[in-house]
């Protein structure tokens, strides 16, 4: 039994009777015990996982109906609610919060008999790109533990990459699924805004964020999207995808398709190893029959400033609910006046969240909104028009997922603008609502490089076809564990 199998291979193996669910889950738990002390992918591990696996084996033995995941261990970012499970957002503010309900994505996976193996680490409230802002310490990149795994869904990427789960869920507000997928050499998808329900995802910037699947292969990612996508009465922004099957025809290829290389995303600020990997990816696309041309989107230069202005504003409002009165940690009410109590308890937010909240109060405020928030919204509108006209000319837009290679812990921690620019290639898909996928493509000195493909809204099916075609050209090493 090999823990590095894909989700689809797992399903076949269980169906063939190669091993039981209990055997696989037990081996996964042993592996977590062995490596997670070092990698810290998980904030909590499901203590009932083995019992749940046994139950599912019993169900199979009794020939009862079983869902399509057949007990597959899936890791869940700790900002997605799993009923009766701690959901901390990697914050001291929510260290004791136990979710009273399942997020829609969890309910849908549960119905298909997925097994939630644990909750994964993230930057506090998903604000960051390295997991260094987790209140419980960072996750480590399994390819080299001196390097950051990317973020904010760093724990979810590490869990899949280091064989601590078969697949995982992350959330992507400005690249938080795609960035760690790229840094840890796995596949990560940010779906079209509205394709996946956000009900039960703890909000950070709700107008642009999406839950996204993370897995070892493009097919696994499509398999998960089949389960979690579609309309949900609990999230009014969801779109009906009419039960689209993203796995069907995934091997259709990209012969005759047109690909635009976003020139702003391969220019200055791009590491030379990343540049050369991108060129190589483009020649692979051409060898598969696609035609590549350069496309320029003027507004991209302002996208990061627009992104941080909008997300901080929404965070300021979304995180106003943390007053420690309804959920939070133990802190006696006696002897405090209302506002001073709240201000005192909000000290439990970590430094990055605190800074974003201050910015979130500042940029939309009466005296400054015209210069910052409204400008940011105008950039977002213009960028959306630009990308829409690009998709009239080409089928896909391509760029490196992250302009730079994974870097060492602490390297960028003290430079907020350097941190901002890590998101340069990913925020556009969020601001414009388009689907985007990161595909592991190459290694440079033992560090992974991912290629990002963006498609037009609701074109996930063809996006997966392009991603699968690119993936088929690669031959990547095994993670050194």
């Amino acid at each position: 039994m090999n823990l590095s199998i894909s989700a689809l291979e797992y399903i076949d193996a269980i169906k063939n009777g190669d091993f039981t669910i209990e055997e696989f889950v037990s081996k996964t738990l042993d592996h977590i015990k062995k490596v997670d002390g070092k990698l810290h992918a998980y904030l909590s591990v499901n203590e009932k996982a083995l019992d749940q696996a046994k139950e599912l084996d019993k169900k199979r033995k009794a020939k009862e109906k079983i869902g399509s995941c057949i007990g597959m261990p899936i890791a869940v970012k700790d900002n997605i609610c799993v009923k009766d499970t701690k959901t901390t957002c990697a914050s001291k503010m929510l260290e004791k919060y136990v979710a009273p309900f399942d997020a829609t994505v969890i309910a849908r996976l549960r119905k298909q008999d997925a097994l939630f193996i644990g909750k994964t680490n993230l930057d506090e409230f998903a604000m960051g790109t390295t997991t260094e802002f987790s209140a419980y310490g960072p996750s480590k990149n399994p390819w080299n533990t001196q390097y950051v795994p990317g973020g904010s869904s760093g724990g979810s990427a590490v869990a899949v990459s280091a064989l601590e789960s078969i697949a995982s869920l992350g959330s992507d507000t400005g690249g938080s699924v795609r960035n760690p997928a790229s840094f840890c050499s796995i596949v990560g998808l940010k779906p079209t805004y509205g394709l996946v329900s956000r009900y039960g995802l703890i909000s950070y910037a709700n107008s642009i964020e999406q839950i996204g699947p993370m897995a070892r292969t493009v097919k696994d990612t499509a398999f998960l999207l089949n389960i979690i996508s579609g309309i949900d009465p609990n999230d009014n922004t969801t779109i009906d995808n009419h039960g689209e099957d993203y796995l069907k025809d995934i091997e259709a290829g990209i012969d005759g398709k047109k690909i635009g290389i976003i020139s702003e995303m391969v220019g200055k600020g791009t590491d030379k190893e990343v540049s050369s990997a991108t060129k190589k990816a483009l020649s692979k696309f051409e060898s598969l029959g696609a035609k590549c041309e350069e496309i320029s989107l003027d507004m991209i230069d302002y996208s990061v400033a627009s992104y941080y202005t909008i997300t901080s504003t929404e965070a300021g409002s979304n995180l106003a609910r943390y007053d420690n009165l309804r959920y939070g940690f133990d802190f006696d009410l006696e002897g405090y006046e209302f506002n001073s109590y709240i201000a005192k308890t909000r000290k439990n937010f970590g430094p990055e969240v605190t800074r974003r909240l201050i910015i979130g109060g500042f940029v939309p405020s009466a005296g400054h909104a015209g210069r910052y928030f409204l400008k940011a919204l105008k950039v977002k509108s213009r960028l959306t028009k630009e990308i829409n006209s690009a998709f009239k000319k080409v089928d896909f837009l391509v760029a490196p997922t992250v302009p730079i290679l994974p870097f060492k812990f602490g390297e960028k921690l003290d430079d907020p603008v350097a941190m901002f620019l890590i998101d340069f290639n990913t925020v556009t898909a969020n601001l414009t609502g388009k689907p985007a996928i990161s595909v592991p493509f190459e290694m440079s000195n033992g560090l992974p490089i991912g290629i990002q493909i963006i498609a037009d809204s609701m074109q996930e099916k063809s996006l997966f076809q392009a991603a699968y075609a690119l993936e088929s050209t690669t031959n990547l090493p095994k993670v050194p564990l």
């Binding site: 609990n234 959920y327 006046e337 209302f338 430094p351 405020s365 910052y372 400008k375 213009r382």
Partner: protein, 88 residues
């Protein structure tokens, strides 16, 4: 250029206690300064697109009782009220 006083004022409005957080003000100032790049974007004539949801897309306005008593999960409550610190 955004002054530190302005930032401190906003921090108070956001109910953030600055005793421990004064150290962040410099960094917040740097972050906001980066946003000045927005001045260069030629978007004056741009209209802001907002996502409007037609009412018929919303779910039916029907009361669906929640099966658990959620208030039981709170630490400080009395009957159906959340307990909060004194307002004055």
């Amino acid at each position: 250029m955004v002054s530190k006083e302005e930032i401190e004022h906003v921090a108070k409005l956001m109910k953030i206690d600055l005793d421990d957080h004064a150290v962040h003000i410099d960094r917040v100032q740097k972050m906001i300064e980066y946003f000045d790049i927005l001045d260069k974007a030629a978007t004056e004539s741009e209209e802001i697109i907002v996502n409007e949801q037609p009412l018929e897309n919303l779910r039916e306005d029907k009361y669906e009782p929640y099966k658990d008593k959620l208030i039981d999960k709170l630490k400080h409550y009395k009957e159906k009220f959340v307990r909060a610190p004194k307002m004055v």
